[in-house]
Amino acid sequence: MTDTEKHEIDLDAFFKDAAEPLPELRNTLMANILADAGEVTEAQQVLTERQPVKRKGMLARLMEPLGGIKGIAAVCACTVMGVTVGYAGTDTLQSIPGVGDIVASISGDPLDDFTYGNTANFSDFLAEG
């Protein structure tokens, strides 16, 4: 404290005289405070228990056995590819960039080696419909 703040009075001495020990908490006050603490804990536990579990949508649940959206996408891609090759023949594969070289490297029609019931190759089977 500066001299000017003292204003001819030693305030610190006054504060020292006026200082009191911390008050004791009455039993009823302590009981009330602890009761509040218990109630707040209970209320927060109830809130936590009531937190809704995030449920998956119906579509997600239907797709789950097939591996979810990734599994479905793979199945669809394979289906489209299979149907395309089935209808248009393996020649169409050669028009696909990158795939054509692979197909060309295979000599002849690899599907010709596939026989159906030891009587006809796969091309004949397709031709018969």
């Binding site: 001819e8 009075i9 006054f14 009191e20 008050p23 908490l25 009330n32 509040d36 218990g38 804990t41």
Partner: protein, 192 residues
Amino acid sequence: MAFDAMSDTSDEELLSLYANGDQAAARALMLRHAPRVLSLARRMLKDQAEAEDVTQEAMLRLWKIAPDWRTGEAKVSTWLYRVGSNLCTDRLRKKRGISLDEAPEMEDETLNVEDQLISADRARALRLAMNRLPERQKLALTLRHFEEQSNPEIASALETSVEAVESLLSRARRALAADLSSNRSTLGLAID
């Protein structure tokens, strides 16, 4: 965990324990901090019952905020002083129905000077002089001199800057000293 075993546990840890349902931690926090809030409220409100209400309410707010308490952001004691002083201020405002800025000095309890002349002492004179100060000045002085809070802690409790607290304390001391000086003859005070 028993309270004794928690005497070395930090406030933040106790709050965390309480947030996880440990009622012994709540008891430890109460025994550590509630008396200080009660002391502040008694000085501000001069009413034991109201001071106890404020203490209970401040502690209730602590229980509620416990799960969201962010360690290192504020000291529990400072936070409680802030809540306690705000609750006291609200009650004083309601009593008067006007804002603090417009608040006049407290009711003069020194009117009965004869009594003062008989039983005057420094402590009583100081309390009475403080009662004539505006609330914020009184609050700042109480936190500084009776609750032994630092200026930054007082600034946090009053939600203002350290510079503003220094100014507040300076004005409060000047007003207090002037008040005590002017009354020293009537109060028969042994000043120095």
